[in-house]
């Protein structure tokens, strides 16, 4: 059955790390319309933070000239999708990148748990990426207390 789109919000911001908390704040504000529990709100906040951080750290290698777009959609029955899109370097092997503990970082300061956490917290995580073109991550979750 096709879901009915009730509300949509699009935003774009620079790929600087200050905007990680901005992205979380926007996500919390939008998703609050879909009757989330406090724990679901925390989950969305964390998943968005992971995806945006990936775009900044990996997609754009901390270059604030990069642009990240977020597209929030709220459907009926408290179903929400959040799309995080960058035009960065892309991911050569998505399956490898989604493995827990996978990281390209050599400083030992990144846990490699970003995708694993997104997958644990969301109902569905869709990743599309083209090397040299960018990466799009779509997070989907049904919010609210199950009836």
């Amino acid at each position: 059955m096709k879901k009915i789109l009730l509300n949509e919000c699009k935003c774009r911001f620079s790929a600087c790390s200050e905007n990680e908390s901005l992205a979380r704040t926007i996500a919390v504000s939008f998703v609050s319309q879909a009757s989330p529990t406090i724990s679901q709100l925390a989950d969305v906040k964390c998943a968005v933070s992971e995806a945006v951080t990936n775009s900044i750290v990996h997609g754009y290698a901390d270059n604030p000239a990069g642009v990240i777009e977020m597209d929030f959609r709220r459907y009926d029955e408290n179903f929400v999708t959040i799309t995080i899109r960058d035009k960065g370097v892309g991911i050569p092997d998505i399956d490898a990148a989604r493995q827990p503990l996978f990281t390209t970082d050599v400083t030992g300061e990144r846990s490699g748990m970003g995708f694993a956490i997104m997958e644990s917290l969301m109902d569905k995580v869709q990743v599309r990426s083209t090397v040299g073109k960018g990466t799009t991550v779509t997070l989907s979750i049904k919010l609210g207390v199950p009836t």
Binding site: S39, A42, C46, E109, S111, G114
Partner: protein
């Protein structure tokens, strides 16, 4: 929910009886982790504690950058000859620690840390 709109982070370090108490407040993300790391590592190198207690009870948000920060400090403390334990994670922070199976590597304790011994609770 008592939530600030834009929250930074800070860290307090205090040496108590040979143990280094490190209390992080606020949010730990990739942005904040850099300065937190620098502040904590400075104290770890200076004191080289046998036991470092990382109090995260006042951490309101943490993502995998927080995991990286904790794992990195655990590794550094061990390299300096000591042990680092994580104290009092909130439910949301505990959930992220659990997802990563952190407790297989690091001791996570729930306990009272006395910060105000001169002013005990009534």
């Amino acid at each position: 929910m008592n939530q600030k709109v834009m929250e930074g982070s800070d860290v307090r370090c205090e040496l108590v009886g040979g143990q280094l108490h490190i209390a992080i407040t606020g949010e730990i993300d990739h942005h904040n982790a850099r300065s937190l790391r620098a502040k904590i590592d400075e104290k770890l190198y200076f004191y080289r504690p046998k036991l470092a207690l990382l109090d995260v009870s006042e951490v309101s948000f943490m993502d995998s950058s927080g995991l990286g920060l904790i794992l990195g400090r655990f590794t550094l403390t061990r390299e300096l000859g000591g042990e680092l334990r994580v104290i009092n994670p909130s439910d949301s922070v505990g959930r992220i620690l659990d997802l990563a199976g952190t407790s297989r590597l690091i001791t996570i304790e729930k306990k009272e840390v006395k910060n105000h011994e001169e002013n005990p609770a009534q």
